[in-house]
């Protein structure tokens, strides 16, 4: 039986190579910075390419190569900070408080608009929906389950208006804000809750037909998106990352500001998020 000794030798070789494979990456130190973003338009090859100018800008500012990664969903982005796949990330308010509690991530910068952010309730034009009460019995779209402006705060607004989403609405999670807008525009779903900056950007870029969708309710302001760094990343590197955003100027950096859907960046702190923590705890999402 000549096959068996050969097979045995191959198995031995395989084990050796396996050991080598385990050992090798440990030795190779990583020299690029990894930046993650929660998926605002689905995590695809195309959407990573669209953000290439941001990646190049950060690489230049940091003096290091930067990898831009868009994980499949919000949860995965937070876990990637936990297992050290990512060094920096763009998180929503709810994902930030979770990442801070679980892994102690540090808030760095945010858009000035993020301090007074709003969620919009949108509906297909022509439907007789004027208030939150009119949503009873309708199909409704939330974004990602971990989204602040696509789930948490709209859920809270509904609760305050006396609507129990679990009983009064037929809702689904679309996974992202543009998906919610599109679902309402095409008529797949009657109404939905969406991030105001995504909604405006989609209309401006012609990705959403303004005649087919209308806003019928705007939530009170709350704190939302923030760029964070892993606690273990050197404080000087974190500071440099923040400076890169603070230095962005309308007129000069319009391409990058358009990708970030903002005009001006400011420093972010953890205590801004106390109210959000209370709401999230009340709704049993935290």
């Amino acid at each position: 039986m000549p096959l068996l000794p050969t097979a045995a030798r191959l198995v031995a070789l395989a084990v050796l190579l396996l050991v080598a494979a385990i050992a090798a990456p440990e030795a190779a130190a990583r020299d690029s910075i990894r930046v993650g973003m929660i998926p605002d338009a689905g995590s695809t090859q195309v959407s990573v390419e669209e953000k290439a100018p941001l990646r190049d800008y950060l690489a230049k500012a940091m003096g290091q190569s930067v990898e831009l990664i868009i994980p499949t969903n919000y949860n995965a982005t937070v876990e990637a900070l936990g297992n050290e796949t990512l060094d920096f990330a763009y998180l929503g308010g709810l994902t930030y408080i979770k990442a801070h509690q679980l892994y102690g991530v540090v808030p760095i910068v945010q858009r000035d608009a993020d301090r007074e952010f709003h969620a919009l309730f949108i509906v297909r034009s022509g439907l007789p929906i004027q208030s939150l009460q009119d949503l009873k019995g309708r199909t409704f779209a939330f974004g990602d389950i971990n989204s602040t402006s696509g789930h948490l705060m709209p859920f809270e607004a509904l609760r305050r208006a006396g609507i129990d989403a679990d009983k009064d609405l037929k809702y689904r999670y679309t996974g992202s804000h543009p998906a919610t807008a599109k679902a309402v525009e095409t008529g797949a779903i009657d109404a939905g809750a969406i991030d105001e900056s995504v909604y405006q950007a989609m209309q401006k870029d012609g990705k959403l037909d303004g005649a087919k969708v209308r806003v019928f309710f705007t939530t009170p302001p709350f704190v939302d998106y923030v760029w964070v760094g892993r606690m273990q990343v050197d404080a000087a590197v974190r500071a440099k990352f923040g400076e890169a955003f603070l230095a962005l100027q309308p007129g000069r950096d319009d391409r990058i500001l358009a990708i970030l859907r903002g005009n001006k960046f400011v420093r972010a702190t953890d205590d801004e998020y106390d109210t959000l923590r209370r709401v999230a705890t009340d709704l049993k999402l935290f």
């Binding site: 191959l10 395989a14 949860n75």
Partner: protein
């Protein structure tokens, strides 16, 4: 809305951009299978040699196999982080259990006479395993191994959908971005890859030794997908957070409804498939219809089968909205592909004599099909349908995760919200139910005296 899926985006730049996800998917399957073989084969030999502890090992393999692949993928994504490493690990565990169990069954069913002969010359049980069991069952092993690899590639797409990277992740992304033209491109790509694998496994069955050529491919895949940072402490704390598994009271109260919903998806999906598969199976049977019709029907069935339930589910959730109906249709479409082919084969394999007797009376083709072929084929058709029902219960818990409702959706939502103790509770409940269904279907088959079919 369906029109949005056409035309597919076949631009060169997009196809080029897809090479990375495609390589990730294939390498996830290859690397996962290599680990699976390295773990599964020795375990199977251990069981096959019937040394002490073999029963325990067999029980362990059966238990592990009852965890759906997508559930494993979610667990791995939590522990290893997103990307092909998590997908590869999930596939490695799932297929180690599958290969271990199926190979062990093959070893246990091997001819006992040569083994007795080896024993009588004083060979130890381990030597019997190496020099008796392994060479005796080699052809079957390769055949099953090929089949598993094909399944693994399909599964590699599926695990991508929950964060495993590759084509699955890209597909979820395009669908979430309402980029349906590109979603169609991805589905076409998947069908091509699966049929290419079909030809590969046909080749390997003819030349079993060529399997050894897959080892370097597997090693290269392992190398490429190995997690860069093994965050062991992160993994340990995360797993720690899953215990003790717990569900709050409202979740416990919702549990019966969730389980019914999952059972409904499985039952209705199988029924839908069985009803559609009867006419399609007849149209695909080469002894009943002209060859071009049979060919065309078979191709349609092949396409339906090549696309996994989860992928159909992703498409349907956008078309008919979230909820059990999307799950039912998703399971139905994939199962029609599987059952239609099996039904057609059952019709082709019926005894000729009764059919000829009916034909001799001048009966028309339709009458022959209804009164001779279908009744004769009813036993295998029933067996295949029961197997599908069992399989679909597992699949129903899986399509739930992409929005079809039931216990799968509850599991996915708990995972997404970082409530890992609740997630673990749902994992254990799903696991117990699948084990129960497996046992029940085993018992039914034995009661009815039906032969056990592997896989």
């Amino acid at each position: 809305m369906l029109a949005g899926f056409f035309p597919p985006d076949l631009s060169l730049s997009y196809l080029a951009a897809l090479t990375v996800p495609l390589m990730q998917t294939i390498s996830m399957a290859a690397g996962g299978m290599l680990i699976a073989c390295l773990i599964g084969l020795p375990l199977a030999m251990f069981v096959g040699a019937q040394v002490r502890g073999a029963r325990l090992a067999y029980g362990l393999l059966s238990g592990l196999r009852a965890i759906p692949d997508l559930t494993l993928a979610i667990l791995c994504v939590v522990v290893v982080g997103i990307g092909p490493a998590a997908g590869m690990l999930a596939l490695a565990i799932f297929y180690a259990a599958m290969i271990g169990k199926v190979f062990a069954d093959l070893f246990l069913a091997a001819d006992w006479r040569p083994i007795e002969a080896l024993r009588s010359v004083g060979a130890t049980r381990l030597m019997v395993a190496f020099y008796g069991l392994l060479p005796m069952t080699l052809t079957n092993l390769v055949s099953m191994g090929c089949y598993s690899f094909e399944c693994a590639v399909r599964a590699a797409v599926i695990v991508g959908a929950v964060g495993g990277g590759g084509l699955g992740a890209e597909l979820v992304g395009t669908i979430n971005a309402f980029d349906y033209g590109r979603a169609t491109t991805l589905i076409i790509l998947l069908v091509i890859v699966v049929s290419a694998l079909d030809s590969l496994s046909w080749l390997l069955r003819r030349h079993p030794r060529a399997v050894l050529l897959l080892i370097p491919l597997g090693l290269a895949a392992l190398w490429a997908n190995w997690p860069e940072t093994l965050a062991l402490r992160h993994a340990a704390t995360t797993i720690g957070g899953m215990f003790p598994p717990a569900l709050p009271l409202p979740a416990l109260q919702a549990l019966p409804r969730l389980l019914l919903e999952t059972a409904f998806i499985a039952g209705a999906g199988t029924l839908l498939a069985a009803v559609l598969a009867v006419p399609l199976g007849l149209l695909a049977a080469r002894n009943l219809v002209p060859a071009p019709v049979a060919m065309a029907t078979r191709m349609l069935l092949e396409v339906l089968r090549a696309v996994p339930e989860v992928i159909w589910g992703l498409v349907l959730v956008t078309l008919v909205g979230v909820g059990p109906i999307a799950g039912v249709v998703a399971l139905g479409l994939h199962s029609v592909g599987v059952l239609g082919k099996l039904y057609a084969e059952a019709c082709e394999n019926v005894r000729r004599a009764p059919v000829q007797a009916l034909e001799a009376t001048g009966a028309r083709r339709l009458a022959v099909a209804c009164y001779a072929i279908l009744p004769l084929a009813s036993a295998p058709v029933a067996i295949h349908t029961l197997f599908r029902l069992e399989w679909n219960l597992r699949a129903a818990s899986v399509v739930g995760m992409i929005g079809a409702g039931g216990i799968g959706q509850a599991l996915y939502n708990a995972q997404q919200l970082f409530f890992y103790d609740q997630m673990m509770a749902y994992v254990l409940i799903t696991w117990a139910i699948v084990l129960l269904a497996d046992a029940l279907s085993d018992w039914t088959r034995r009661r009815l005296g039906w032969a056990t079919v592997i896989a």
